[in-house]
């Protein structure tokens, strides 16, 4: 076997943390990780947030983000230990031998400069190519990555192209200097599933055609299975399992890897609709001030008591706008909302306190939905005071009951949000909404910001609580696996319209309309060769038409 291009030995990485109420101190976030990467191969680094995967990826460029410092070990690139290199040598390595593709291309492109200037900058600066050669190469890469109008797209500014296109431009930026290694850090995570599949295929083909080696970092095992030769599973800065992709997916040895492979184990029996829906949205049309088009067009859906309606769609489909209309934050221009046997006022000011109490909401970002200066007990106790005027020892008892319901317990009562993990924060938000004894809760992407295993726990909790409290959920999400797990009925939204609506079994069974088919087939599956199958299938279909 040839010498590895990247050889990492016993890599240790530390950081300084500033916990609230304590003195800043140093912690170790990666505890001695070792791996090899041969030229032209792809290694997937997978793990939940805090696993240290991005940190390891950046360490291969001798870079520490924020206060992160590499404290020990060796990182060999092309036969030299870059942790012992001079500042100048490291600068010559970055952007020439090793390049980086970040999660958010939208934030990683300089808004003040044209795309082409940024794509060729490293190649020109590192004297790999002349400006003219680099531009020629960039245009070839734009074409290879399937960008529209490859000859001219470089003349645009970043805000003038879409998110998916910008992510491909970022890949072109990384490939332009002909590096030996590219670090892909969650390159498709911020994209819609239907966009993700194109970008994923473009990245995979670019890796194959240019023969570059890659570190592919993601939390999504199904995605990494499509592109990598080997996979390393990381957890809390330790290596859990490191093997060929085939083995990790089909016969994982470690318990943690098995759990990752089998997430979404939730089974939920679909319930039949009742005669009397708790929420009835009738022909709602809405637009935002200053926009000259409707964001919602004639939307009609029903939600039955004690059941879950999943509203699914990509960004811009209008699903969150629907939530704003139902809560009264955005008065609709047309249509009617019936709730618990009465017609709701269109705007928030016209709603009674009873309306507000019976219709609660949980948000995607639990940490910004809570006052950071209030304790968990205060946060959960507030709706008890506000709606029921419960105070003193009775309030305390109710808070403890609620904390037990969300599986946290009394000891969390005096903690502040900053002391909770992401999953625990979301649980507190759930308890706060339950404290109002609502008939219905709108859940807006409540698990999107959470790691898969934590998200699973939240979904299980929501289903259990539904059985106990008989509360209905309007569940807004872009994640079809979540939809399958918890819904009784589904509304698929596309460009402000309800594309497909019915019970879960109806919506998820063929024959599909074109959009639902595209959406469903774009969800990555945990098997090797899935990406090629889908792409080949689509090519065949479009050739047939």
């Amino acid at each position: 076997m040839s010498d590895p291009l990247l050889k990492v030995r016993d890599l240790k990485i530390g950081a300084t943390v500033y916990p609230p109420g304590e003195k800043p101190h140093d912690i170790e976030i990666v505890h001695g990780v070792s791996f090899d990467l041969a030229p032209g191969k792809v290694l997937g680094l997978i793990g939940e947030s805090g696993a240290g995967k991005s940190t390891i990826g950046l360490a291969s460029m001798a870079y520490g983000r924020g206060g992160v410092k590499i404290t020990g070990g060796e990182v060999w690139v092309n036969g030299r230990d870059i942790l012992k290199s001079s500042v100048r040598d490291i600068r010559n390595l970055r952007g020439a031998e090793v390049t980086y593709v970040s999660q958010s291309a939208a934030a990683s492109f300089n808004p003040a400069k044209k795309i082409m200037d940024q794509v060729v900058e490293a190649a020109v600066e590192q004297k790999k190519f002349s400006r003219k050669e680099a531009e020629e190469r960039a245009r070839t890469l734009f074409a290879k990555l399937g960008l529209p109008d490859p000859d001219n797209i470089g003349k645009r500014f970043p805000h003038q192209v879409s998110g998916g296109q910008l992510q491909r431009c970022m890949t072109a930026l990384a490939l332009c200097p002909e590096p030996d290694l590219v670090v892909f850090d969650e390159p498709t995570t911020a994209l819609d599933v239907t966009t993700q599949i194109d970008v994923l295929m473009a990245i995979k083909e670019a890796i194959r055609d240019t023969g570059v080696a890659a570190l592919y970092i993601t939390h999504d095992l199904a995605v990494v299975a499509q592109v990598s030769d080997d996979i390393m599973v990381l957890r809390m800065g330790d290596m859990v399992e490191y093997a060929h992709t085939d083995q990790i997916i089909n016969s994982p040895k470690e318990e943690y890897t098995q759990a990752l492979v089998s997430v979404r184990s939730i089974e939920h029996e679909e319930k039949n609709p009742t005669p009397e829906p708790v929420l009835s949205v009738k022909n709602i049309t809405a637009r935002y001030k200053g926009l000259n088009f409707d964001v919602l067009k004639n939307v009609t859906v029903d939600l039955h008591p004690g059941q879950t309606l999943a509203v699914v769609g990509e960004s811009g489909s209008g699903k969150s706008t629907l939530a704003r209309v139902i809560t009264g934050l955005l008065p609709p221009s047309d249509g009617q909302i019936d709730f618990a046997g009465r017609t709701l006022s269109r705007d928030l000011a016209g709603r009674t306190r009873e309306d507000l109490r019976e219709l609660q909401m949980i948000y995607q970002m639990a940490d910004v939905a809570m006052n950071p200066r209030q304790t968990v007990g205060t946060i959960i106790g507030r709706p008890l005071e506000f709606y029921f005027n419960i105070r003193g020892s009775e309030k305390r008892k109710r808070i403890i009951d609620l904390l037990d319901e969300i599986e946290l317990g009394e000891k969390f009562m005096d903690r502040y949000p900053a002391e909770l993990s992401g999953g625990q924060k979301q649980r507190v938000c759930i308890a706060r909404s339950l404290a109002a004894k609502p008939k219905m809760i709108i859940c807006d992407e409540v698990t999107s910001a959470l790691d898969p295993l934590v998200a699973d726990g939240i979904l299980k909790l929501l289903l259990d609580l539904q059985k106990i409290e008989d509360v209905a959920y309007l569940f807004i999400t872009h994640d079809l696996a979540t939809v399958r797990a918890i819904s009784d009925s589904i509304a698929v939204m596309y460009q402000g319209k309800v594309q497909r609506y019915g019970s879960k079994s109806e919506v998820l069974s063929p024959p599909f309309d074109d959009y639902t088919d595209l959406l469903l087939s774009s969800v990555p599956e945990m098997k090797l060769g899935w990406l090629e199958e889908v792409v080949a299938h689509r090519k065949m279909e479009s050739a047939g038409n």
Binding site: I90, R94, T99, S102, S108, N110, P111, A122
Partner: protein, 318 residues
């Protein structure tokens, strides 16, 4: 219409409106000052008849609104009236004074603005290390010392002890540019020291704010050097706040130099204003107020327009 044209037109219209409002305030302000112009011209011993005659002659008996519009239309045509104290045409006297003030402000700006931005960039590059601390320390110290004290200190050492520059900054039309520059060297140094800290700190803060962005990380991972990252990627995105603070300081150089002009006996607007305030020469005070307001509004409008033009989202809409 291109959205930038519309935004710029809005700013222009708004500035004119603001100037109009300022003119009303200035006029109203001088109106409610105690004292009577006719009385102050003629002195305590004036007879009631001569007072009444003069009031009639100056139009002081007209209603205030009429007098305001007379004054405003005159000012728009360049006629600022005549000074009560010496009967000279105000526009003429101000013309010379204003060009002197602008001459001083111009050279102070030419030195202080690039210097402040350069020092800001250096402070960012060596953040929390000794160059940053030295720059911050020296500029903050210079802004904290009253400007007249700096003025007298420099005068003592550079003019009296070393004899490099004249201690009194007199200029006249007969001097060559070199002679003029030597003459105003001391006030320029003092003004530079006064405005440097503010602009330097703002440059530093604005760029440091941008340095947190993901695209700065991208630039670092391209292998660019520290200075390349700062001036190619961070600086273009920090222009708007920097231009704003630069313009406020330029305005200060024009309208706030009263103390320096008095210290160095420089024949500029500030001294002219101070002289005539003490003599209750209302038309001169009004004229100076209007010009200062115009300078302030003009410079801030330029800052606004530069901020608009510096934003690629506005310059190149989707």
């Amino acid at each position: 219409m291109h959205p930038v044209v519309k935004l710029v037109a809005q700013r222009l219209a708004l500035s004119l409106l603001l100037l109009l409002a300022a003119s009303i305030l200035i006029f109203a302000g001088t109106m409610i000052l105690p004292g009577d112009v006719a009385q102050s011209i003629l002195g305590q011993s004036a007879t009631p008849e001569s007072l009444a005659n003069l009031r009639e002659e100056l139009g002081l008996n007209d209603p205030p609104v009429t007098r305001y519009f007379d004054w405003l239309f005159g000012a728009m045509q360049g006629d600022l009236g005549t000074a009560l104290t010496n009967g000279r045409d105000i526009a003429e006297s101000i013309g010379q004074r204003l060009s002197n003030t602008l001459f001083l402000a111009f050279w102070a700006a030419i030195i202080s603005v690039p210097l402040a931005i350069l020092l800001g960039l250096i402070a960012v590059r060596y953040k929390d290390r000794w160059p940053d601390k030295l720059i911050s320390g020296v500029t903050l110290a210079s802004i904290s010392i009253p400007e007249f004290l700096i003025g007298y200190l420099l005068m003592y050492y550079l003019a009296v002890q070393l004899g490099w520059f004249p201690s009194v900054a007199m200029i006249n039309d007969g001097m060559s540019l070199g002679q003029k520059l030597q003459s105003i060297a001391l006030p320029v140094i003092v003004l530079t020291l006064v405005v440097l800290a503010h602009m330097m700190r703002m440059t530093r803060a604005a760029i440091l704010n941008v340095m947190q962005s993901a695209y700065v990380e991208t630039a670092e991972l391209k292998g660019l050097s520290g200075f390349q990252v700062i001036y190619r990627h961070a600086f273009p995105n920090a222009i708007a706040p920097i231009v704003n603070v630069v313009m406020i300081n330029l305005a200060y150089l024009v309208v706030g130099v009263v103390v320096i002009e008095v210290v160095f006996v420089y024949p500029g607007m500030g001294q002219y204003l101070v002289d005539h305030v003490s003599k209750r020469d209302v038309p001169v005070v009004q004229a100076c107020g209007l010009i200062f307001a115009a300078v302030y509004i003009l410079l801030n409008m330029i800052a606004d327009i530069v901020s608009i033009l510096a934003n690629p989202r506005l310059r190149h809409p989707k």
